[in-house]
Symmetry: C2
Subunit: 369 residues, 2 copies
Amino acid sequence: MKPGESVASSRDVKLHALILAGGGGTRLWPLSRRSKPKQFLREFSGEPLITDTATRLHPVVPAARTWVVAGMSHEAGVREALPHLGAHLVREPMARNTAPAIALGVSAIFLEDPDAVVAVLPSDHHIGKPDRFRAVLAAAGQVAAERGMLVTLGIVPDRPATGYGYIEFGATLGRVLAAEAFDVKRFVEKPTAAKAVELLKSGNYLWNAGVFVFRARDLLEHLDKHLPELGKGLADWRAAAPDAREEIAFRVFEAAPSISFDYAVMEKADKVAVVPASDVDWDDIGSFRSLARVNPDDRGGSATAKDVVSIDAHGNLVHAPGKTVALVGVSDLIVVDTGDALIILPRARAEDVKQVVDELARRKRDDAL
Amino acid sequence: MKPGESVASSRDVKLHALILAGGGGTRLWPLSRRSKPKQFLREFSGEPLITDTATRLHPVVPAARTWVVAGMSHEAGVREALPHLGAHLVREPMARNTAPAIALGVSAIFLEDPDAVVAVLPSDHHIGKPDRFRAVLAAAGQVAAERGMLVTLGIVPDRPATGYGYIEFGATLGRVLAAEAFDVKRFVEKPTAAKAVELLKSGNYLWNAGVFVFRARDLLEHLDKHLPELGKGLADWRAAAPDAREEIAFRVFEAAPSISFDYAVMEKADKVAVVPASDVDWDDIGSFRSLARVNPDDRGGSATAKDVVSIDAHGNLVHAPGKTVALVGVSDLIVVDTGDALIILPRARAEDVKQVVDELARRKRDDAL
């Protein structure tokens, strides 16, 4: 039995996907821009990352149960990437971080399917082994459906990363389909480097990848408890006539705190489980280091270009489509060229793209951001 | 008295300029290409270098006494850069290094002005102080005219360069106008690094910049002596009817050795003088290091771009017109972007552009060369 097929046997779980496309990231500048955040980039697979995010879930989550929450400015991009979305594109009236966005999306799903089990997913991650990912997601859906728990997916760490939150897992809840579920003891915020080494060593921690699975009705109950004003506002939203909802959503968001779902709900809820997502080849494409996945060359680097001539040059990540690139005596650099902009920095400083973006903002180079 | 004016007093010397535009250099790839060698680049002054080469000589050499020897493939480029050249563009039938090219050019000048004094000049050098250069050239012209000597200009070395030939100078021939002339003891080929240090220390050596001044008739006599077959062929060429000359030139060049003027004539001639060209701010733009002259920035580098954001980055020479460039944590790099091609290499390895060009040739990337 293939992992994808195992789900068909869990007849009662109708998994919906709620994809969050609110990001405005510039961590991959100049590839990503304010107007073209990471989820729309085609550079990693040929398709926009958000398209990959949706299609890799089939058939566990078919297109008919796929939803996206996105800000107004990204609506056109989302429609282009997912042309069959129809009414399942939920408009975020304004940016208020993930808690209000997820709450609104789940409210919309609940209206259509009160028994829905919802998988919340970032729109811009890479999953190298989608078969295995679907199996893990199906297992998480099963736990959520049967136990009424809020379930997170936990990525098995392979290095002491400081860029992610960690999840300490406790007692096993047993095997579920092709995976295993555990109680969550606690969530740990992004650690220092020393702390991260400690967490990795202990073997009791997983990375929080921002993937959550729960029954829609359970989430709405948690909302009433932990964010009662937002909960009440969205209850009004659901009760209102469809053509009144846009205005209500606007007022609800205006009044809502800008707060993350992890912090506002997951860390406060009881009955939280985690399903380790082992061997899914996950990458949040949080920096240009992920270019190493794309067109790897025989010099420990990668080359997306018309031609790359390397002389005494190794480990360079080159992204310059259509261009002839010559590298002499330089190693472990990231070189990204988009025609109008060029960035060069060591792989070890991939995160410092942020400083470049900050400086461009300071220079009021809105045209380049 | 300004240097430029000193010449007017030497009434009898009618200096002609013979500019050699035969280069096909790719030392500045991807800026220079086979079809656009260095002499046509506008990146260093806004004008093609060959245009600068001609105009900086005015009024010592007016446009009416300016000549160019160029291969067929560069004729259009020369005409564009020097639109008033007319019949003073001498076509090199094929590449045979500098001796045949200069001999042909001097033959053409001799036909128009048997008393001509000719200054031979490379077409693609930078001279930061043209006033001073004109004064030195006028002095060299005076020595050539009065003494019938072959005169070279010698650049006063400021470092133990291994990329140039050296000239050992001997006894003074006295002050001439605003300069001083010396006997040449010998020419030294491009030295090793150790040898170059020795030459620099001794204080008796100057760089051979490829600038030669002589009476046309003296050169033709030297030719008969040192390259008799070429000398005879060009005598026939001069004696022939104008419309027969193209074919004769072709045959003469076909039979001629491919040999440098330095080696074939200057090193063998007696009566050779040198005029030190001190303080002319000479640069042969032999590598991308010369970019440091263009748009110097406050970080020890240079920036020709729409915008350069440097974070922990110093001494970088950036040439990427119209582009936003971000450099993080990289120093002393040369970064040259031409839209279709990009090169990145340390300043210390500027000469290794040659290796890139060789590799592109090996890959049969004629489109990029």
